[in-house]
């Protein structure tokens, strides 16, 4: 007998022996080949048990040992050590057979269990003889410890690690450490204040030189193995540098308010903030998201959220400055902008979009730009010509001048402003507003040349000769399109809308006739109609081919026109102009109906045969569109045009086919909005500057095109946001207003404007008004900060990521979110906390405003087990609620007075900790009423909350009216626990919390060596238990660091060089890149430091060259043989 096997079957007290006839198994095994000794024993894992093995090895010269007992995951190490002590190589000698977890505990019949145990033992006997000597490799250990989560568990662990003289990295997701404990007020059962015992810990952590604190950071990736982890930490941009002194001046300047998450949204904070006054580090932090949709949508990129916030804060001058960073015509755009920003405003998810355009007008009306100081301009020598003084030209001129260029504006008309001047009637845009804004641009030192028509009075070469280094063409689209109907050219009285409006705007205000018909549905048509009315035209009609829904003019303009008496013929198309004696007599029309959509997506009007009719009139004003007016024969050939007869430009640089000529506005885009013209002018100004600076325009365009698309990671809107109606501009009476060119709408009053601005939900987070930057004396604010990735090396990791309180909103019967005075436990903690919304007073909420607190409640119901011990939510007991509920009861009695009634609705009281039962007695003696029964619902009636339950002890239904209800919500795993578990290579249990390696013996270890757990991330627990576990986890980490080395499993892959044929398939299958090809030998080789022993290679390798040590084919085959040797 070459092998001498010792077999030992354990009774495990009665755990195995009650089902498996252990003696019978031992006797059976004794007869198997190679077995030298076979025994059963009460507790093999005990010292005497192990001694038996050691003694037998020596006395019987055993070469192999098999223990049949519990799972190898439990005691494999124990018995391996015993074999080693007796001089055997443990990997060669020892095999463990599980007859407890896999046999006695899961099998009901004694016979079957015994049979199964024999079978498994036999498989083990066959297997063990094929085991080989293995030696674990030893690696040095990095003595640093990473602690993830800066709550009480993380802080404690970090301090303990540091105290032992090792370095700790503490990574916290929030801007401050402290965790949930620091949100609490008092702690049970001793009632010491959480801040009093918590803040000193925070300070120690902050000051301890061996702790490197990484707040506002998250672990993104962990690689390596025990003793040698490499960790990437994302350090989120705080936008405030470390030299922040925490003075809080920035916070005072910030106009943006948010609900403060630290206070569970019971009060607000600013976009630049620290969660609470004692935060560690004290460094402030700015809450940024992707730019708000309004900002992203504005063609000119105006910081909409910013100026709205500044208006709310009453900072009108700052608001105007912010607007004018992107556009020089705030008062104009505050009146005529189509406000695409309002269409995407997320306030509409609550009720209705913010009145952004009206707020812009309000800001512009509050401050006369001419009274603002002139900007400081560094003059440059280069001359630039701007042709056309419309919004595009003015904007280009404005921003080029700010860069220091010498600007001359050439204008064909006698007045500046382009379409703003001659297209938009005065009642919409008062000339004094336009004048003021043009003047503001011109006063920076811009020259003008009036009545100079491009292409007629001068050409490009003239300008070049005069030394202009670049030319901006913003000549607009001033030529009306023809109707193309019969009679259009034949009769006097047909005048196009552009001509008509130009005349009116330039002061010719006599009526064009007695009855005017305007054709078209855009703003120009409505402007012409309302202008015609104001000149004294008796009757004005509009003819439009489609229905009102399709009409492109602004709805308020259409409403205004109708109110003033303009008649609109919808679904009507012109077919001919009738005349008499050379003059217009009427417009012949035909009714239409809407057919299928055309290319533009709008439904195409189809004439209805036989529906012709005539509108009598003496003036016909077509307003069906415009195009640019190119009358420069000399340069027609050299400036490229588009198919639509507009100037062709590169959309990123606005450069035309001539390098020194740039374009923008209607001449480029065709008739479009003022804000688009402004955006084009601004874009061209930037490009012209780069052009003059000698930059390659092609790469400039490429860079602009490659700009990352804007994200949509916006702040979530709180469901509890109260609805508030949108403010509307006051109208003048229609009859009165139709009689003059005075402005129809007046602006907001100050209160109205501020209240409207306050409706903004700040979905972009920080609005980037940058007032904080100016307010900061230390110059610590840095809006351009970027996230950084820091790589750190550690030997051990303690995961202490904590828990989340359950959101009780879905449990509809308790009315959270519906009834104002139903609170969650955490809300109550903040209420009771001195840094909370009420500075520690327990007050009821104002039913009209969740952020306002009124008076102390006279009666309070505390509902236990909300979401705990409940199959619909969490089946487990959250372990802390009973005790904090008692604490609340005490605090209410203490703070609101002893006559305040307090009811606790509980299923079972669980007061199992040290001093807990005593605390229960104390609270009971304070007169708190305990109702044994789970509340089934909370209803609101006459301002009171009615709690319904059964008092199961008196067998009676109770309905108790109270003023406040507190829901003791469950502790639950963080929503991202699964992803976090993956990062650290650990797993979550069915309750969602992280799984410890063993529920009793390894409560802080995980199946991944070197990764430990602490605190409530492992399961609900109170502060004492959390601290104890943190200390345990620290001890594990320290044990590793102190020993300085770690041995890793030798059960890894090996490739037999004599068999390997070098196909390299295993290399592609290895998840760790642990196999490399050796071209000299033509074989694949395993890097033993990297291999983890998963066997992906061995599972493939057809020749069996790749094998996992200790799990070789031969070993597995023998095991199969043993099992099936019936």
């Amino acid at each position: 007998m070459s092998e001498r096997i010792g077999f030992y079957i354990c009774h495990c007290g009665i755990n195995i022996a009650y089902r498996v006839r252990v003696q019978e198994v031992a006797e059976y095994v004794a007869k198997l080949p190679n077995v030298a000794i076979s025994r059963d024993y009460l507790f093999m894992c005990s010292d005497p048990g192990q001694e038996i093995i050691e003694k037998d090895i020596r006395e019987y010269h055993l070469t192999r040992v098999i223990v049949a007992s519990c799972s190898p995951r439990m005691h494999e190490k124990t018995f391996r050590a015993a074999c080693q002590r007796a001089g055997l190589n443990p990997y060669r000698a020892f095999h463990m057979v599980c007859v407890r977890e896999h046999v006695s505990w899961v099998t009901e019949s004694e016979d079957e269990a015994t049979e199964k145990a024999k079978n498994l033992a036999r498989a083990g006997i066959l297997r063990v003889v094929h085991q080989r000597e293995l030696f674990p490799a030893t690696f040095p250990v990095c003595t640093n410890t990473l602690i993830v989560g800066g709550g009480i568990a993380g802080m404690q662990a970090a301090l303990d690690v540091a105290k032992a003289g090792f370095k700790a990295f503490l990574v916290e997701r929030q801007p401050t450490i402290g965790g949930h404990m620091l949100q609490y007020d008092k702690t049970f059962p001793t009632l010491d204040c959480a801040a009093c015992i918590g803040t000193p810990k925070m300070v120690s952590v902050g000051q301890e030189p061996r702790i490197r604190l990484l707040t506002y950071s998250e672990v993104e990736n962990v690689s390596g193995f025990i003793g040698n982890f490499k960790v990437s930490v994302r350090r989120k941009a705080r936008y405030v540098e470390k030299n922040c002194t925490g003075c809080g001046e920035c916070e005072k300047a910030c106009p943006v308010d948010f609900p403060n998450l630290w206070d569970v949204n019971t009060k607000t904070r600013k976009a630049i903030y620290r969660p609470f006054p004692q935060a560690v580090p004290i460094t402030y932090c700015i809450d940024k998201y992707d730019r708000a949709p309004c900002v992203q949508t504005c063609p000119a990129g105006t910081n909409v959220q910013g100026y709205v916030a500044l208006i709310k804060a009453g900072k009108y001058r700052e608001a105007l400055n912010l607007i004018m960073e992107r556009l020089p015509l705030p008062g104009t755009l505050g009146r005529v902008c189509p406000a695409p920003c309002e269409h995407v405003c997320r306030r509409s998810e609550v009720d209705e979009a913010i009145a952004i355009r009206d707020l812009k007008r309000f800001a512009a009306d509050q401050v006369n730009p001419l009274e603002m100081p002139l900007p400081d301009i560094q003059d440059r020598p280069e001359k630039i010509a701007v042709i056309g003084s419309g919004p595009a030209g003015l904007t280009a001129a404005h921003y080029l001048r700010l860069k220091g260029y010498q600007i001359t504006i050439f204008e064909a008309l006698p007045a500046l402003g382009g379409m703003l001047r001659v297209g938009i009637p005065d009642y919409r845009l008062p000339p004094e507003i336009l004048d003021r804004e043009i003047q503001n641009t011109l006063r920076m030192g811009i020259l003008t040349q009036m009545n100079q028509k491009f292409g007629v009075d001068f050409c490009l070469d003239d300008l070049r000769k005069q030394g202009f280094k670049a030319i901006f063409l913003g000549i607009g689209a001033h030529r009306s399109l023809k109707l193309g109907v019969q009679g259009e050219e034949d009769f006097q009285g047909v005048t196009d809308a552009v001509d008509f409006l130009r005349k009116v705007n330039l002061g010719h205000r006599e009526p064009p006739g007695k009855r005017a018909v305007i054709i078209g549905g855009g703003n120009v048509a409505v402007d012409a109609a309302r202008a015609a009315l104001r000149t004294g035209c008796g009757q004005v009609d509009i003819v439009y081919r489609r229905s009102r829904e399709e009409m492109p003019a602004y709805p308020e303009e259409i409403e205004g026109a109708l109110a003033e008496g303009v008649k609109i013929h919808f679904l009507t198309a012109p077919i001919a102009i009738r005349g008499e004696g050379g003059k217009v007599a009427g417009l012949e029309c035909i009714r239409t109906e809407l057919g299928p959509p055309d290319e533009s997506g709008r439904r195409r009007p189809v004439p209805v045969a036989g529906s012709e009719f005539v509108i009598e009139s003496d003036v016909i004003i077509p307003a069906i569109g415009q195009q640019p007016d190119f009358e420069w024969p000399a340069e027609k050939q050299i400036l490229e045009l588009t198919k639509r007869k507009t100037i062709s430009v590169n959309p990123h640089t606005m450069q035309t086919s001539l390098p020194d000529v740039f374009g923008g506005g209607d001449a480029v885009s065709g008739p479009a909005t003022v804000i688009e013209a402004v955006a084009a002018g601004r874009k061209a100004a930037d490009a012209i500057h780069s052009y003059i600076m000698g930059e390659d325009m092609e790469s400039y365009a490429k860079r602009a095109a490659a700009k990352e698309p804007l994200g949509q990671n916006w702040r979530a809107i709180l469901k509890t946001t109260p609805k508030k109606e949108r403010a509307r501009l006051p109208h003048r009476d229609a009859t009165e207003s139709a009689a003059s060119f005075a402005e129809v709408m007046s602006g907001f009053g100050e209160t109205q404007a501020q209240e409207e601005a306050a409706r903004c939900v700040n979905c972009g987070g920080c609005c980037e008004c940058k007032l904080c930057e100016s307010a900061c004396e230390a110059k610590a604010v840095n809006h351009s900060m970027k996230d950084e990735i820091e790589e750190i090396e550690v030997g051990s990791i303690i995961v202490a990521t904590g828990f989340d309180p359950l959101d009780p909103t879905p449990i509809r019967q308790y009315g959270y979110g519906q009834h104002t005075n139903v609170f969650t436990n955490l809300e109550f903690e903040r209420l009771s906390n001195a840094t909370g919304p009420t500075r520690g007073k327990l007050l009821k909420r104002d039913p009209k405003d969740r952020l306002r607190f009124t008076e102390p409640p006279k009666s309070v119901a505390i509902l236990h087990c909300i979401g705990s011990r409940d199959k619909n939510y969490h089946e487990y007991c959250s372990r802390t609620c009973c005790m904090y509920a008692l604490k609340y009861a005490h605090l209410i009695k203490d703070k609101c007075g002893h006559d305040t009634e307090v009811y606790n609705f509980y299923i079972d009281m669980r007061c199992f900790g040290k001093g807990y039962e005593e605390f229960y007695k104390r609270v009971q003696s304070e007169g708190v009423r305990m109702v044994r029964g789970k509340a089934s619902r909370v209803d609101e009636k006459d301002g009171m909350l009615i709690v319904t339950a059964e008092d199961t002890l008196s067998d009676r239904m109770v309905k108790i009216p109270v003023e406040m209800v507190i829901l003791c919500t469950a502790m639950e795993a963080r929503p991202d626990a699964t992803e976090v578990a993956r990062v650290f290579g650990i797993s979550t249990g069915s309750d969602g919390f992280f799984q410890e390696e063993h529920p009793k013996l390894e409560p802080v270890s995980t199946p991944t060596a070197g990764v430990f757990l602490a605190g409530a991330c492992q399961g609900p627990k109170d502060i004492p238990d959390t601290v104890a576990q943190a200390k345990g986890a620290a001890a594990e980490a320290l044990a590793l660091s102190a020993s300085g080395k770690v041995s890793v499993s030798p059960m890894i892959s090996s490739i037999d060089p004599d068999i390997c044929v070098g196909c390299q398939i295993c290399i592609g299958l290895c998840a760790y890149s642990a196999i490399e090809f050796n071209p000299l030998k033509g074989i694949s080789e395993v890097n033993e430091a990297v291999c983890k022993g998963c066997g992906s290679c061995a599972g493939y390798c057809p020749s069996g060259a790749a094998q996992i040590r200790h799990f070789t084919s031969k070993q597995i085959f023998s095991e199969i043989d043993g099992i099936l040797a019936a």
Partner: protein
């Protein structure tokens, strides 16, 4: 005649299903005794040869069980196992081994209850199929 008692060879990965089997034991969940667990570190190391060997030696069923998608302790061993089982499920039925005799499942470490359920179901299914051909006769 006594009821047919199948023998089922089960290859369980150390980190998920083997742990679940331990948990089933700790939780005292009972399941049929016919299951014989062979511990492997990962289902990715289960060579198709192991399955063939087990069937030829007389196993009535073979169960390979590893971690749930994304939970594999070795990142993706379970996906590799899936391809290999797929391959076997194409080969073995050609020779009269019913497809239902070979199963691959993914059972997480905390799924003790599910493990017991799956084992019960599997044993019931195998009992319904009757003994494997190799159980009764010599395979050459």
């Amino acid at each position: 005649m006594s009821e047919f008692e199948p023998t089922i060879v089960a290859f369980f990965c150390n980190w998920c299903t083997f742990t679940a089997a331990d948990l089933a034991g700790t939780s005292r969940l009972s399941y049929p005794h016919n299951i014989r667990i062979i511990r492997v570190m990962c289902t990715g190391m289960v060579d198709p040869q192991y399955v063939i060997k087990a069937f030829l030696e007389g196993a009535d069923g073979v169960l390979v069980s590893g971690c749930n998608p994304g939970d594999c302790h070795y990142i993706n061993g379970n996906y590799k196992a899936r391809r290999r089982i797929k391959l076997l499920k194409e080969i073995l039925p050609q020779f009269g081994f019913e497809n239902e005799r070979l199963r691959l499942t993914w059972i997480g470490a905390s799924d003790g209850v599910r493990l017991a359920e799956i084992l019960r179901t599997f044993v019931t299914q195998i009992k319904a199929l009757g003994p494997s051909q190799t159980k009764l006769k010599m395979a050459i």
